[in-house]
């Protein structure tokens, strides 16, 4: 039912010739245009970093657990040198509660490694027993502590696990609520401070006496902030001890 004068009726079987040509062009544009737009938008995205979480490979690491102030396994089981491996949940929770019994005792921990740069984390296996007393003969070296002085830094508070590879990207505005949720439920807040020439420093964020701070920093997660505090080296981790009440938004 097409009108002879070339009038478009959607349910009619034939299309008027001028409409057919125009719609063919519009159809091709409706395929090529989005392809071009999609490619352009995708290529413009920020790098998401080299963080990686090898969930398929479950390791058993032996070492000693300390609260620094967030759970850390001190182990030489990964590369032969003594490393601080942050212990985190596989989902969004904290592992602190299960650790009290094992403080400073030799333990084994089962989980998968999350790695970004020189930062190491172990996401523990949640659906099975993941920690127990180790019968290996492990040296009990004291934690190396070095006070590096007071400093004021600009940076962003983020969740250790997300940033290190559980999420890519694991920083910025779109990730803000995820990072807040992780820290609220027991994740470890880290602080990334950008420096000149494409460099930066990653620090563990803690209270003035090196205690854990979580709820206090929630409003500041994923935003540009300035904080005044003290840098303290603990083994191969650097801690930024701040007063959370005095964090400033930039």
């Amino acid at each position: 039912m097409t009108d002879k004068n070339g009038f478009f009726i959607g349910y009619a079987d034939g299309l008027p010739a001028p409409d057919r040509r125009f719609l063919l062009g519009a159809g091709l544009a409706a395929i090529a245009g989005p392809a071009f737009a999609g490619a352009k938008l995708a290529a413009h995205q920020m790098p998401v970093g080299s963080g990686h979480w090898n969930q398929a490979k479950i390791l058993t690491l032996h070492g000693r657990v300390v609260q620094n102030p967030y759970p850390v396994l001190r182990t030489d089981g990964l590369d032969g040198t003594l490393r601080s491996v942050a212990l985190v949940c596989s989902s969004k929770c904290g592992v602190d509660a299960q650790l009290a019994v094992f403080a400073d005792k030799p333990v084994y921990v089962r989980g998968s490694v999350i790695k970004r740069g020189r930062h190491l984390l172990l996401a523990v296996v949640e659906n099975a027993p993941w920690i127990g007393a180790s019968d290996e003969n492990l040296a009990d070296e004291p934690v190396y502590v070095q006070d590096m002085g007071r400093i004021t830094l600009n940076g962003e508070i983020l969740d250790a696990k997300c940033w290190s590879g559980a999420m890519r990207p694991g920083r910025g505005k779109t990730h803000k609520s995820c990072a807040s949720l992780c820290i609220r439920l027991g994740g470890a807040p880290w602080f990334v401070a950008p420096a000149a020439q494409g460099k930066r420093t990653i620090m563990v964020l803690a209270g003035p006496k090196g205690e854990a701070i979580r709820q206090e920093v929630l409003p500041f997660v994923g935003e540009p902030v300035r904080a005044k505090g003290r840098l303290v080296r603990l083994d191969d981790q650097v801690q930024f001890r701040i007063d959370p009440a005095r964090i400033q938004m930039i």
Partner: protein, 123 residues
Amino acid sequence: MSLAFAHAFIAALTFYLILGAVFGLTHVVFLAPRLDAGAKGSGFWFRVMIFPGAAVLWPLWLFGLILRRARQSPPKPWRRLHLRLWVVLAPLIVLSLMLSLMVRPVIPKNDTLPAALLERADD
């Protein structure tokens, strides 16, 4: 938003949708053919297709039924309403465009960091 408020909000939403499922089922099975002659003898897939509407829009059609509102109001041209909405919304969107440029987060670089602590940013 407080945790209690969020819980209450989600609970209310769930309640609304559960009620909607009940009303919706009633609507597609019993009410549809009475409300519109075109729905008499319509197929199963038509009922499936209008079910989400019946479940989500239940306050709208229910109050329409209760108040016996005249369903066939004469058609009107709506161009003026379109224009009014745009005249209100367009400046608001322009404002949010400008705002978004102003609030863009920028972290100033730190030049006091001990060199020993620096690592490459692309890792």
